[in-house]
Symmetry: C2
Subunit: 211 residues, 2 copies
């Protein structure tokens, strides 16, 4: 037998105590601290706090959206399967259009990735939604582009594209966007579906509190 | 319009070229280099190579298992949804027992997590399988424990539990185990379902080559 902590509650408590010990959250609002804590918990990297960039209104905006029944739009399937459905305050829809049948044809016609083409199918759901990116820089870029051309706007954007080509650039574009949409993002190459799902789950928990 | 790379093939090529430029893979076999490249690609962190620990036989063992039709056993749903099914050479089963109905009761009886209790339901599938962990340290610990007591052995273990409590310890236990099962793992706190799925996808691609 190995000597390790087995009780789920004790594991959570020790995890969060470790994060509180190692991370200086000063200056962050309580809801934003909850979101940051869950993101750090998902990746095991307290050091990412330095690259976390966010609009002070993002927690409030995303919580209000979920409480109002807004859908969650995700760029990839892994995020949708990381979202803990029982936390969603209004049994909110979780929508990923990436694998819809016409996406490969659209991508070929648009000379872009399937991930970016799939964003076109978000249009009817976009207004007031919570948009989350855990994979594809091109998807986040594409959303920014269509919004600049007048597409409806989500209530909040959670931006965690990952990787070596375009990820850092797409997240900088989000953080520097003048579209005035509340966001949270992790600047640089790091990101991914686990962090993205953790951000959604943190917001869903906040939305469920006090309702 | 933002200026970014849109062509999927060009994005892949530039990503892998960046990884080759930044990472010194010398001393690694070609198959292991493929696996490491895909893991780094999934997290955007070339620096993790230093913590990657593996048995030289793991690529060969896991490839042979998949070619022989072995199932893939995963500790969490996110990994199963990150596995690209069309790459699997024998339409291999991808099994996650975490959400089977009796798991919460088993966990309570065993005084452990649901993730660890779910491993009990792997027993009939274990022999010669590819076991993959993208989340739960307790699940990896539990597999090591039942194997030490005589449970059937997988052909290979891909160990990427993540987090602050038990993750580093469970992966050190895997790397130091005397059970003699080929493995690849990322020592320390980092890990997660994206890296775990990337390892499976790399192995599946290798298994599909030359068949």
């Amino acid at each position: 037998m190995y000597d390790y902590l087995r009780a789920p509650q004790a594991i959570y408590e020790k995890s969060f105590a470790t994060i509180r010990q190692e991370v200086d959250f000063s200056g962050m609002s309580d809801p934003m601290r909850s979101i940051a804590t869950r993101i750090i918990h998902a990746c095991g990297m307290p050091e990412i706090l330095n690259e976390l960039s966010f609009d002070d209104k993002v927690a409030e905006a995303a919580v209000a959206a979920l409480r109002g029944g807004a859908p969650i739009l995700s760029d990839c399937e892994m995020v949708t399967h990381g979202i803990i459905k029982r936390f969603l305050p209004k049994n909110n829809s979780v929508i990923c259009t990436l694998n819809q049948p016409d996406v490969p044809t659209r991508a070929a016609e648009m000379h872009t990735t399937r991930s970016a083409a799939a964003i076109e199918l978000w249009r009817e759901h976009l207004e007031g939604s919570v948009a989350v990116f855990g994979n594809a820089p091109t998807a986040l870029f594409h959303l920014l582009e269509i919004m600049e051309k007048g597409a409806p706007k989500p209530a909040a954007i959670l931006g965690f594209p990952v990787g070596f080509v375009g990820a850092a650039e797409s997240k900088t574009a989000l953080a520097e966007s003048t579209l005035n949409i509340p966001f949270v993002t992790l600047l640089g190459r790091k990101g991914g579906s686990a962090m993205a799902a953790a951000a959604v789950n943190a917001i869903a928990r906040l939305a469920g509190e006090g309702t």
